[in-house]
């Protein structure tokens, strides 16, 4: 069990040892399932689109599942991407990787992580309205609670990094950058995917955000 320090150093060291271990290409019949979770409005659809396009650029088949309509009004949301030589089901019931843009949503979806899977968690809280009016409270000890599910999780201060880049909204792309170290395709696939997925005026900051996420170990 690793306990984190204030600068996420322990996470970085541990992540370093794992990053790249999954980078060999997928064989026939193998599938990678990545689940994104967060709160409506945090940019999950963009994150899934960038990952899907990167996988296509690397020559894989993909399927993406999204949530629209009533589920978007500030509620808990999820999106998923499945990657392989050939993908059938668009939905997943367990994930090789979970990318959580918010800590409570990390906990809510943690049981979907496969044994041996990895979880990247943005070190950020958004309080749901239910904690202000009810008997429930926000889990302030998210890190300890996550250990009940898995030891393979890493906190990333993505919102703080995004703020330093000039826009907190690119925290999603920072998380994608960190995830990219684990995916079986190279940086070119990712950069092309960002160009295809992000509108022109937001391109530069998203590329910076991606690189900042990819460099989070440094």
């Amino acid at each position: 069990m690793i306990k984190n320090d204030n600068n996420n150093n322990n996470y970085k060291i541990n992540y370093q040892s794992i990053a790249g271990s999954s980078s060999s290409s997928l064989k026939n019949g193998e599938t990678l399932s990545v689940l994104f979770t967060g709160v409506g409005g945090q940019g999950i659809i963009l994150a899934t689109t960038v990952l899907a396009n990167a996988a296509i650029n690397a020559g894989y088949d993909v399927k993406v599942s999204e949530v629209h309509g009533m589920a978007q009004r500030g509620g808990s949301v999820e999106g998923s991407v499945r990657i392989g030589k050939k993908v059938f089901s668009p939905t997943i019931n367990s994930a090789d990787f979970i990318v959580a843009l918010e800590k409570l949503e990390a906990l809510r979806y943690a049981r979907k992580l496969k044994e041996g899977g990895f979880m990247l968690v943005s070190d950020y809280s958004i309080y749901p309205s239910t904690v202000f009016s009810g008997d429930v409270s926000y889990p302030e000890n998210a890190e300890e609670m996550l250990f009940k599910f898995t030891e393979n999780f890493f906190f990333i201060n993505a919102v703080e990094k995004a703020k330093n880049l000039g826009n907190t909204r690119v925290s999603n792309t920072i998380m994608v950058g960190a995830l990219s170290l684990m995916m079986p395709f190279g940086q070119d696939c990712w950069l092309d995917a960002i160009k295809d997925s992000v509108p022109g005026k937001a391109l530069q900051i998203n590329i910076e955000a991606f690189k900042s996420g990819r460099d989070f170990l440094k």
Binding site: S24, G29, T31, L32, S33, G40, A52, N53, I56, G59, D61, V62, K63, V64, S65, E66, V67, H68, G69, M70, A71, Q72, R73, G74, G75, S76, G84, K85, V87, F88, S89, P90, T91, I92, N93, S94, D96, F97, L104, E105, L107, R108, R111, K114, E115, G116, G117, F118, P128, S129, T130, V131, F132, S133, G134, V136, P139, M145, K148, P184
Partner: protein, 638 residues
Amino acid sequence: MADKLENKKNFMLLTGNEAIARAAYEAGVSVATAYPGTPSTEILENISKYKSIYCQWSVNEKVALEVASGASIAGSRTLVAMKHVGLNVAADPFMTLSYTGVTGGLVIINADDPFMHSSQNEQDNRFYAKFAKVPLLEPSDSQEALDMVKDAFDISERFDTPVLVRTTTRISHSRSLVNINPVTEVTPVKYVKNAQKFVMIPAYGRQRHHFVLERWEKLQKLSELDIYHRVHEPEGSRKNKTLFKHTGIITSGVSFQYAREVFDNIAILKLNMTNPVCKGAIASFTEGKKLIIVIEELEPFLEEHIRLLNLKADIAGKEFFPAYGELGTRALEEAYSRLFGREVYTSNAERGKAGQRLHSSDTGSAADLKTGNFSDDGINDKSCEISSIINELPPRPPVLCAGCPHRSVFYILKKLKAVVMGDIGCYTLSVLPPLNSLDSCLCMGAGIGQALGMEKANPEFKNRVVSVIGDSTFFHSGITATIDNAYNNGTNLIIVLDNATTAMTGHQDHPGTGKTLGGDSTICLKPEDFAEAAGIKNIQVVDPYKLRKLEAVIKQELARDEMSFIVCRRICVLIEKEKELPVAYIDQHNCRECGQCLKFGCPAIELKDGKYSINSILCTGCGVCVDICKFKAIGTVK
């Protein structure tokens, strides 16, 4: 995959809805209509990007289908899109459209919503195709959505029938790779008057019913063609080949994808056309098999058809798969265990690189089909602990946005202990705590009629019962009910929550916005004018941000012994955030910690460590909460 790589330029990652829009373009459609409804909304939004297609939001699905029918009679290829419950609204023209048939091809895209991600029921609309005797196609990914919609236009014209294409939420809203083709040139058919085909008086209707029955025979033959079903031979390397050789799966739509992944060792008959059902193809597929597993979401639609064929094989259907919600690989794995053994099943595809697991061999004994014999292995301590953690997490339901103009109306209705007959839209969320406002929500436009029924059934509801309805919903199906209230001497109160858009589905225009789907300027209708035309005397228009005025008006109109109509008018906060509005704050000095402000249910008002505060990032400066605090602890800062 190789061909995909070579022609990467022709491949796009599209949702089912985007693929359907592309199909309309490639098929040479010239008219498309819809009323927005999740999960179908983005079909028309994407069609509107193709300038060669005239497209429109209709006031409701019935009118959308009628406009489409007219365009078809005029000779154009026409597409109409709606969600499952929308076809209920359009059922009247739909059923007789089966008799009249078409001139230009007419395709109805029907989007079902298993699990009710954003719907009030999860009805299975495959029965509508059977009911009306029209062909039904069911795509299982975006590529098939494109191919089938294009083919549906050919079927429609060749067999003189409207064609239903049924998607489900996972087809509409999942993305997969699609091969893009150029547009087909279609010459519109010249209009020739044909009363015996299009005027459904009883004498002509009788003739056309015979036509429908003859057409049904032809469609049954069509369904036997190879392109409407496909056998997928097993690829998996599971043991007990003999057992699985005598087993077969019949499925369609997204269920095929789950089946192909989990039951990769069993032959699958995938139906692309599910009405009529290809009896001959099923008979030859099941020949020599001992067990047929029917995998479908919601109702046992295919299963009933298959059971009627009196096959020799046992049939495993709804006793192994739930008749509610969505299927998924998990549900199929459970069924697999119940059918073939108790192992915790992981398919080849789900066994990803990260999570390698041991995979035990099959036990090989088929479960008792009669009882669905299955016992759980028991729940261990760790999963108990995990369940209790998850159960204690605070839920995060969707909420009315900070600054939503609807909130103050429900706050007051709750305060006045009104009985509130609700309707379909964002404001349905007011049923949740802390507003707990609605007493009813049935279907589009229902609340207004329900309010009249309440007061007629029991006079105690006079001066208490209110109906609330959004502007888009009012135009959809609230007008006739308003007339019914006025005509039958109702004395209740109708409140229209007019935020100048169809908000829940993502801000579509309607007759009250002054814009069409194509972006043209047009008339801008006002709900209060309809109330006036219906002879309602007491009509008020108020700004729901003015809490005290709003409360006074609602109180006054509720007390009246005649019909009243209030329009609460304020544009959706997501469309137009007024800039420079001073955000609110709580003066800790004056705060008595009574908690009244939390009962307003605004996501910007927070209670942290026993202190009430307002999140200045979320606050839109609507200022309503200032009037809610009777201790004057809430103020605004420039």
